[in-house]
């Protein structure tokens, strides 16, 4: 029998970035690793471009599908504005992994709102935790040859903080990703691990 400290993970991004597939992979990995898991995505509608969030909860026994505000252990954001939008969910001392990408919403282009700058974002997170990691996920994924591997790359990042063995992660990726593009996604996963390799949280 395996017991594990509860891990509440909030994954945020913009519709079309592949966060739902990422949350599916994470859910599958936790299942294969033998944990109880609940996972819920709020996406609402078919179109691209809206805010998307997934709650993923792992533990010995999980009741609620939604994570309480202020209880998130790991916030993993595929886009910077979508990181700060959900910052109140992160618990004091929690981990924030943020893809270094800005996707300004239409209102910014129309001049009716302003995109927060990096300093502002960092200052807000610093009030909550010292564990804030910006990852050049999108550019790393592009360098690998397929920007769409961002989601497996971000899974690589988060894997460094979760008690799930690497072969299990790869099995979960293999379940969810078609054979044609599996190799490049494995590489993206490794790339994500490497991006956070230096990090050590006691």
């Amino acid at each position: 029998m395996k017991t594990v400290k509860k891990q509440d993970i909030l994954m945020t991004g913009v519709g079309g970035q592949g966060t739902i597939l990422a949350s599916d992979i994470l859910g599958e990995a936790a299942l294969l690793a033998g944990y109880d898991i609940k996972k819920t995505d709020t996406l609402g509608m078919a179109q691209r471009g809206g805010s998307v969030i997934s709650h993923i909860r792992i533990g010995d026994h999980v009741y609620a599908p939604l994570i309480a505000e202020g209880d998130v252990d790991i916030l993993i954001a595929f886009e910077k504005l979508e990181a700060i939008r959900w910052c109140t969910y992160l618990r004091t001392g929690g981990i924030a992994i943020i893809n270094n990408l800005a996707m300004p919403p239409l209102s910014v282009g129309l001049g009716t709102s302003k995109y927060p700058d990096d300093k502002e974002i960092l200052a807000v997170f610093k009030k909550i935790t010292n564990h804030v990691y910006f990852v050049d996920g999108t550019s790393r994924a592009q360098q690998l040859g397929d920007a769409r591997t961002l989601n497996t790359l971000m899974m690589g990042c988060i894997s460094t903080f979760l008690p799930i063995d690497i072969p299990i992660w790869k099995e979960a990726i293999a379940h969810r990703i078609p054979a044609k593009i599996r190799e490049i996604n494995f590489r993206a996963f490794d790339e994500g691990r490497e991006a956070l390799a230096h990090v050590n949280i006691g």
Partner: protein, 611 residues
């Protein structure tokens, strides 16, 4: 208890909707019918994967319900699924089958949407159960959704009644571990239809005959629910007892790990004896439920003092924090909930509402109407626009946002035409255009158009035909030529319907041809008679159509911002420079921006590179 390791596990990570579908499949349904609607849509999508039953999209929820009734009368277990507001559309046949009863099991999934994630209202459909005097089942996770489905069919048959199977967004769209214990068994003992006037022909005389049966059925169900295995007391600390059901149970368990629980899997009729016993056994009993005080009021009516809605909000979705904060305020937990490091996000973060996709066939027509109808006046609120737009429900409702400002009203599916007619009768004095999607037109727009012809209306109706039900995730409908199973199907032609109804001014135009849009819309609006314009263009998010993306020649571009007025997410302003994000642009299959750029600065990437 943690489950076993890889290989040995029989558990699957299923969403509530997947579990409902699998549960119904194993319960032996032969017919499944539905109209799409978040959060219920995936139930039928999952059932459509099986070859050994009939899984179909119906034209609307009323038709789905009627098909369900017929199939159940004819002796086949049947599942009908819809979102909460769908049951309003289907309420008439639903109330009828509540009286006639069924033959084989008939289970109706109502998927409610607390929090209004993707609906027009937040109605609590639990009220339909006492209203129709039928039993109601409520799972609290995917495991229960799977397990309870078998019970729902048995109850339906044993008590000769349709059963409401009520989900909420957080049950339908959450994945949790599910042990799949059953396998498909199709009962055949009820197959075939037997004539029975008193049961099936609801003339007043027969309906009056059936009425006492319905009351009697409730009495029997009330006895049964006391023994229903999913109505369960778990004694803990007897100082506090919590009565709850559905997803609320999960939040309550986290906040009150040691309290006593009465968890209800069947919430109509209520197990009164069990409730009395439970309330007697605890010092204080409270009800934790989402939305209306449904359980609470029914328990209060039994003369038992319970509280709940005094501190648990009746609006929106619950979560652990809401229940925890409420419990603290009500003095139910001693510890003050720990404060967050920061309690609010920085003010004025740009919102990110869903938008029409790049290349959406709805963009050009709303852009055109914005100009013709002087609708940009809405942005400075100086004056009302020249044209009133009554809207409907679908992706196109998003055109209500700036910059398109394309909508004055949106109520429920199909309402655009009737609302426009009403404004006309009221003598509003301006031109009125009703917008309706192709799926919505077939769902409930046709009758409005018949009224327009009959009562001599002069409005313009625009049917946005993108050949899919896009909003809910691109389901087929009777006009798309494909079935729920993705097989070719006969297709209903909306142009012929419009003509057949008797509309004389009918035009069909290409959604991406701005010149044609402008002249056709102008003449339709100017026409003093009823006119219908069918705007056709495939939804690229469904077809995944892509071609060479567009790019802006930065030298030719004067940053005038005309192209930003389409509201296309691919056209962005970065540091005062307008650019087209090439990974988002679907290219020259759309080319709406290219047609409106006054500087002719927009070209497909390749030719721009050449020049």
């Amino acid at each position: 208890m943690p489950i076993t390791m890889t290989g040995a596990t029989t558990k699957k990570l299923l969403s509530g909707n997947e579990a409902v579908a699998l549960g119904a499949y194993h319960a032996g349904i032969m017919v499944a019918t539905a109209y799409p609607g978040t959060p219920s849509t995936e139930i039928l999508e999952n059932l459509a994967k099986y070859d050994d039953l009939n899984a179909e999209w119906a034209t609307n929820e009323k038709v789905a319900m009627e098909i369900g009734i017929g199939a159940a009368y004819a002796g086949r277990r049947t599942l009908v699924s819809m979102k909460h507001v769908g049951l309003n559309v289907a309420a008439d046949p639903f109330m009828a089958v509540a009286i006639t009863g069924t033959n084989a099991g008939l289970v109706i999934v109502s998927a409610d949407d607390p929090g209004i994630h993707s609906s027009q209202d937040e109605q609590d459909n639990r009220h339909y159960a006492p209203f129709a005097k039928v039993p109601m089942i409520e799972p609290s996770d995917s495991q229960e959704a799977y397990d309870l489905m078998a019970y729902a069919f048995t109850i339906s048959e044993e008590f000769d009644t349709p059963v409401i199977f009520r989900l909420t967004t957080r049950i339908a769209h959450s994945n949790s571990l599910t042990e799949v214990t059953g396998k498909r068994i199709v009962p055949t003992d009820r197959v075939g239809f037997k004539h029975n006037t008193q049961k099936y022909v609801m003339l007043p005389v027969n309906a009056r005959y059936r009425r006492p049966f319905v009351e009697d059925r409730l009495v029997k169900l009330a006895a049964y629910t006391e023994t229903f295995p999913f109505n369960k007391i778990t004694w803990g600390d007897k100082k506090l007892g919590i009565i709850t059901s559905g997803v609320s149970y999960q939040y309550a368990r986290e906040v009150f790990p040691t309290a006593s629980f009465l968890k209800l899997g069947m919430t109509h009729p209520l197990p009164r004896k069990m409730i009395r016993e439970f309330c007697k056994g605890v010092d204080r009993a409270i009800v934790i439920e989402e939305l209306d005080p449904f359980l609470q009021e029914n328990i209060l009516a039994m003369g038992i003092k319970v509280t709940g809605k005094e501190f648990i909000p009746g609006i929106g979705e619950l979560n652990t924090k809401i229940v925890r904060d409420a419990a603290y305020k009500a003095g139910l937990v001693a510890d003050k909930p720990r404060a967050n490091a920061i309690s609010e996000t920085p003010p004025s973060l740009p919102a990110r509402p869903p938008l029409l996709c790049p290349g959406c066939p709805h963009s050009g027509v709303f852009y055109t109407l914005n100009i013709l109808g002087k609708r940009s006046r809405l942005s400075d609120k100086s004056k009302e626009p020249d044209v009133i737009v009554t809207g409907d429900i679908g992706c196109y409702t998003l055109a209500a946002y700036p910059p398109l400002l394309g909508m004055d009203t949106t109520d429920c599916m199909g309402a655009s035409i009737g609302t426009a007619l009403g404004m006309e009768k009221a003598g509003v004095g301006r031109k009125i255009v009703a917008f309706i999607g192709d799926s919505t037109f077939l769902h409930s727009g046709i009758t409005g158009l018949v009224d327009a012809v009959y009562n001599n209306s002069h409005i313009t109706v625009i049917i946005l035909d993108n050949s899919t039900t896009a909003m809910t995730g691109h389901q087929e409908h009777p006009g798309t030529g494909m079935s729920a199973r993705n097989k070719e199907a006969p297709s209903v032609d909306n142009k012929q319907i419009v003509r057949g109804i008797g509309v004389k001014d009918v035009k069909v135009i290409d959604a991406f041809d701005l010149k044609a849009l402008r002249s056709t819309l102008k003449s339709a609006i100017d026409n003093e008679e009823l006119s219908v314009v069918i705007v056709r263009g495939d939804c690229p998010t469904k077809t995944r159509a892509r071609s060479i993306p567009m790019a802006i020649d930065s030298e030719a571009c004067t940053s005038c911002g005309t192209c930003l007025k389409i509201g296309c997410p691919a056209i962005q302003k970065v540091n005062d420079q307008i650019v087209i994000e090439s990974t988002l642009c679907i290219g020259d299959v759309c080319a709406v921006c290219q047609q409106i750029c006054p500087q002719h600065a927009i070209e497909p990437v390749k030719s721009a590179a050449k020049g």
